[in-house]
C-alpha cells in the first residue's frame, strides 16, 4: 500500500492509531508525564556533573588558600592599599566591608598582625608555609619541599603543610588500571570467542550466565578475597617484598572487569551475521580460522568498545583498590603500593573538613574521574552504535 506523503504525515503516532490530544486529554497528559519522567535520566547526569563540579569550583577558580603565613600589612600602611585589596586581605564580603568604618578596619588589621605573631617561629621562616599548595603548579609539577633532597611529587594532605600533588594518584590509577586490563582483556575476549563461536550450545548456555554471575559479586567481596587469599597466593608465586601492591590490586580489578568486557565482546561477536560464518565454513575454513579471520575482524569495533567500557569501569572501581593497597608512592614499579584516585576520595573524605581545601580537591578529583568515565562511555557507545548500524546495513 502506497501512502502519499501527506497521508503519512497525518497519522504519525504509534501504529498509526492516535487521535491527538483534543480527543483524549487524559491520554495526552499521561504521555507528557511519561516523557517528563524519562527526561529525569538526563537531569540526573546533568546534576551529578553540576554538583560535583560545584564543590570543586574554588580549586578551579583559585579561591582556596592553604598558606599558613601570609604577608602581613602593617595597620599604619592601610591607606596605601586599595579597598579591594583590603577586602581580600581581611577575608570580608563586600557587604561586610562596606558596613565597617575606618577604625573597625584598623582594629581588624591589628588582629591579623597578632594572629601572624602567634604562628610558631619554625613556620614563620619556612618557605613552604608561605605558599598556597592548591595552586595548579603545586598540584601538577614537582616541587622542592623544605626537608627533601630534590623536587618531588608528593600527596600528603595531612600535617602542617599539606601537599596536594595529584600526579602520584594519576600514576597509581593508571598503573592499577593497566594491570587490570592487561589481565582481563585477553581472558575476557578469548572466552567471548570461545563461548560465541566455538562452544557447543549446551556449554554456551552454562558458561555465559556463569561468567555474567561474576559481576554479581559485590566489589567489597572481591576486595576481601584479594586481601585475604589472592595477595598471599601471588606473593608465593612471584616472591616480591610488599604483600599488598598494585599488582594484586590490578589482578583483583581484573576479576571485576572481566564480566563487563566479556558480555559486550560476546554480544558483538554474536551479532556478526551468520552468513559470514557460513560462507567461510563453506569455503573450507576451520571453525577457528572462521572465528579468528572472519568473525573477529568484523566484530573488532565491538571488542574495542568493550575494552574502552572496561577501562571506564576499572578506573572507577573503589572498594577493591581501597582494601588492597593504599600508600601513595610515586613509583612506576608494579610491585610497589599505589593509591588510585577513587581510593583517595573514599579514604580521605571522612577526615577532610567540609568546605576546606582538602575537601575541594577531593571533589575536583571526583569531577576529573567523572569526566574521564564520561568520555570513555561516550566513545564506547558511539563505536557500538556505529558498528551495529553498519552490520544492519550490510544484512
Amino acid at each position: 500500500m502506497q501512502l502519499s506523503q501527506k497521508e503519512a504525515r497525518r497519522t504519525p503516532g504509534w501504529m498509526g492509531i492516535q487521535r491527538g490530544h483534543k480527543a483524549r486529554p487524559l491520554e495526552w497528559l499521561a504521555e507528557k508525564f511519561i516523557f517528563l519522567v524519562s527526561l529525569s535520566t538526563i537531569l540526573m547526569v546533568f546534576l551529578i556533573f553540576v554538583f560535583v563540579a560545584r564543590e570543586a569550583l574554588p580549586v578551579f577558580l583559585g579561591d582556596t588558600d592553604t598558606a599558613l603565613v601570609s604577608p602581613v600589612i602593617p595597620p599604619a600602611e592601610m591607606d596605601h592599599h586599595s579597598p579591594a585589596e583590603l577586602e581580600k586581605y581581611l577575608e570580608l564580603t563586600p557587604a561586610q566591608f562596606k558596613a565597617m568604618d575606618h577604625d573597625t578596619l584598623m582594629s581588624l588589621m591589628d588582629v591579623k598582625v597578632e594572629a601572624a605573631n602567634d604562628i610558631p617561629e619554625s613556620f614563620r621562616n619556612s618557605r613552604d608555609a608561605r605558599i598556597n599548595t592548591t595552586e595548579w603548579r603545586y598540584l601538577l609539577l614537582p616541587h622542592q619541599w623544605d626537608d627533601y633532597q630534590k623536587p618531588e611529587y608528593i600527596w600528603q594532605p595531612v600535617g602542617q603543610i599539606k601537599k596536594f600533588n595529584i600526579i602520584p594518584l594519576f600514576v597509581g590509577t593508571l598503573k592499577i588500571t593497566l594491570i587490570g586490563l592487561l589481565f582481563a582483556v585477553p581472558l575476557a575476549v578469548g572466552a567471548a570467542i570461545y563461548v560465541s563461536q566455538l562452544a557447543r550450545p549446551r556449554t554456551r548456555e552454562i558458561a555465559k550466565p556463569a561468567i555474567e554471575l561474576l559481576s554479581g559479586i559485590p566489589s567489597v567481596v572481591v576486595g576481601f578475597f584479594a586481601l585475604l587469599v589472592l595477595a598471599t597466593v601471588l606473593q608465593k608465586i612471584f616472591g616480591y617484598q610488599t604483600r599488598l601492591n598494585a599488582f594484586v590490586a590490578g589482578m583483583a580489578l581484573g576479576f571485576a572487569v572481566i564480566p563487563i568486557i566479556f558480555s559486550i565482546a560476546e554480544d558483538a561477536l554474536t551479532s556478526v551475521p551468520r552468513a559470514y560464518t557460513q560462507a567461510a565454513l563453506a569455503l573450507g575454513a576451520s571453525r577457528w580460522q572462521t572465528a579468528w579471520q572472519i568473525v573477529l575482524p568484523a566484530a573488532l569495533p565491538g571488542v574495542f568498545a568493550a575494552t574502552v567500557l572496561g577501562f571506564g569501569r576499572a578506573i572507577g572501581e573503589t572498594m577493591i583498590v581501597l582494601m588492597v593497597c593504599s600508600a601513595s608512592v610515586m613509583s612506576w614499579s608494579v610491585f610497589d603500593s599505589a593509591r588510585s584516585i577513587t581510593t583517595t576520595i573514599a579514604a580521605e573524605m571522612a577526615e577532610a573538613v567540609n568546605g576546606g581545601p582538602h575537601y575541594r580537591i577531593l571533589f575536583m578529583l571526583g569531577a576529573l574521574l567523572f569526566a574521564a568515565t564520561f568520555v570513555s562511555n561516550m566513545i564506547g557507545d558511539f563505536v557500538i552504535h556505529r558498528f551495529k548500524t553498519k552490520l544492519e546495513g550490510k544484512r
Binding site: 504521555e31 550466565p209 569501569r313 576520595i345
Partner: protein, 321 residues
C-alpha cells in the same frame, strides 16, 4: 585452499564433515576454551573459599545478635543491625527507583520516536549513568542531597539545626536509586520488547486507547521483567559500599535506624571495617568470612533468581520471533 576437490568425486554433503586436523586451530581453540575455564575457575574459587570458610561461623545466633561496641569478638558478635540497615536502605531505594525506571522504559519502548535526537540523548544518558564510578555517586550524594537539599531543608524547616543536612538513610537510598536506575530501565525495556506486537494491536483493535493498552495489557505481561529489574537493582545496591560511605553509613550505631534521617550500619561496610580495621586479623577471620557469606547470600541469591526469570523471558521471546 589447495584442498578443493572436484565436486564429481564427492558425495554432496560428505565434504562438510571432512574437516582436516589442523594443529594451530586446535591449539588456539583450546586456548580460548582455557580462558573460559579460567574465568569460571575464578568464580568457583571465590565462592568455594567463602562458603567453606564462612559456614562454621554462620549460625542463627550470628545473624540475629546485635553486637556490643567491640564487634571483633567471635562469641558476642552478630550482624543483625547490619542486615537491618542494608535491607532498609535497599527498600527505600526501590520506592524511588522502580517508578522512575519503569516509566522511562515505557517511554523508550512505547512512545519514543525510534531515531529522534531526544531518544538518543536519553539512551546516552542512561548508558552514561550506568558507567559513572560508584564513588562519584557518593560525592554527588554528599554535594547534592546533603549539602544542597538537606542543608536547605534544615534552613526551611528546622531553624538550620542539622537534621537533614547530614548523612542519613534517605540520602544513601536516593544516591543508590540514582545509581541503579539504568539497571531497572534496561531490564524493563527488554521485557517490554519481548511482548508480541500482536497483543497490542489486538487491544487497540478492540477500541482500547494506547494508555489503556499499556496499563492493562502490556504492563501485566512485562511484570516478570520489571521484577527482574527490581531484583537486579536491589542486589547491585545491597553490595555497593562506595556510594554510601559519605551519605549515611555509620561505623557503629547503638540502636537500629527508626527514622529516615538516621544513620545506619551496613553489611558491605562492615566487611570493609572488619577486614581493614581489625586489631587481630587471625582472630577476626571467622567473623569476617561469616559476614561475607551473609552478604553474598543476600546479593547472590537475588542475582540467581533474576537470572532464572530473565532466561525464561528470553526463551519466551525466542519462541515468539
Amino acid at each position: 585452499m589447495s584442498e578443493v576437490q572436484s565436486p564429481k568425486s564427492e558425495v554432496p554433503g560428505r565434504h562438510f564433515r571432512a574437516e582436516k586436523f589442523d594443529f594451530w586451530s586446535f591449539f588456539f581453540s583450546g586456548l580460548t576454551g582455557l580462558a573460559t575455564l579460567f574465568i569460571l575457575g575464578i568464580l568457583a574459587t571465590i565462592l568455594i573459599n567463602i562458603i567453606a570458610n564462612g559456614w562454621p561461623g554462620f549460625s542463627w545466633h550470628f545473624v540475629s545478635t546485635t553486637p556490643k561496641k567491640d564487634f571483633f569478638d567471635i562469641h558476642t558478635t552478630g550482624v543483625f543491625p547490619m542486615i537491618v540497615g542494608t535491607t532498609f536502605r535497599v527498600l527505600v531505594m526501590t520506592i524511588f527507583v522502580i517508578p522512575v525506571g519503569v516509566i522511562t522504559a515505557i517511554y523508550l519502548t512505547e512512545y519514543a520516536p525510534s531515531n529522534s535526537l531526544i531518544t538518543r540523548i536519553i539512551r546516552a544518558a542512561v548508558n552514561n549513568l550506568a558507567g559513572v564510578p560508584s564513588i562519584v555517586f557518593g560525592l554527588f550524594g554528599l554535594g547534592f542531597f546533603i549539602n544542597f537539599i538537606g542543608k536547605n531543608l534544615d534552613v526551611l524547616l528546622h531553624n538550620a539545626n542539622a537534621v537533614w543536612g547530614q548523612p542519613a538513610l534517605v540520602w544513601a537510598s536516593l544516591t543508590l536509586a540514582v545509581m541503579t536506575v539504568p539497571v531497572v530501565i534496561v531490564a524493563t525495556e527488554e521485557s517490554l520488547k519481548a511482548i508480541p506486537p500482536g497483543l497490542r494491536e489486538a487491544s487497540l483493535a478492540l477500541g482500547a486507547t494506547k494508555l489503556e493498552t499499556i496499563l492493562k495489557i502490556v504492563l501485566p505481561q512485562a511484570l516478570p521483567g520489571i521484577m527482574t529489574g527490581g531484583i537486579l537493582a536491589v542486589s547491585r545496591a545491597a553490595g555497593e559500599v562506595a556510594p554510601i560511605l559519605f551519605t549515611g553509613v555509620a561505623y557503629y550505631m547503638a540502636s537500629l535506624p527508626t527514622h529516615l534521617s538516621d544513620q545506619f550500619m551496613d553489611l558491605g561496610y562492615h566487611v570493609f571495617v572488619l577486614s581493614t580495621q581489625s586489631p587481630n586479623i587471625e582472630q577476626t577471620r571467622p567473623i569476617l568470612y561469616a559476614t561475607v557469606l551473609v552478604l553474598l547470600l543476600l546479593t547472590f541469591a537475588l542475582n540467581i533468581v533474576a537470572i532464572i526469570i530473565r532466561s525464561n523471558i528470553r526463551r519466551k521471546m525466542r519462541s515468539l520471533h
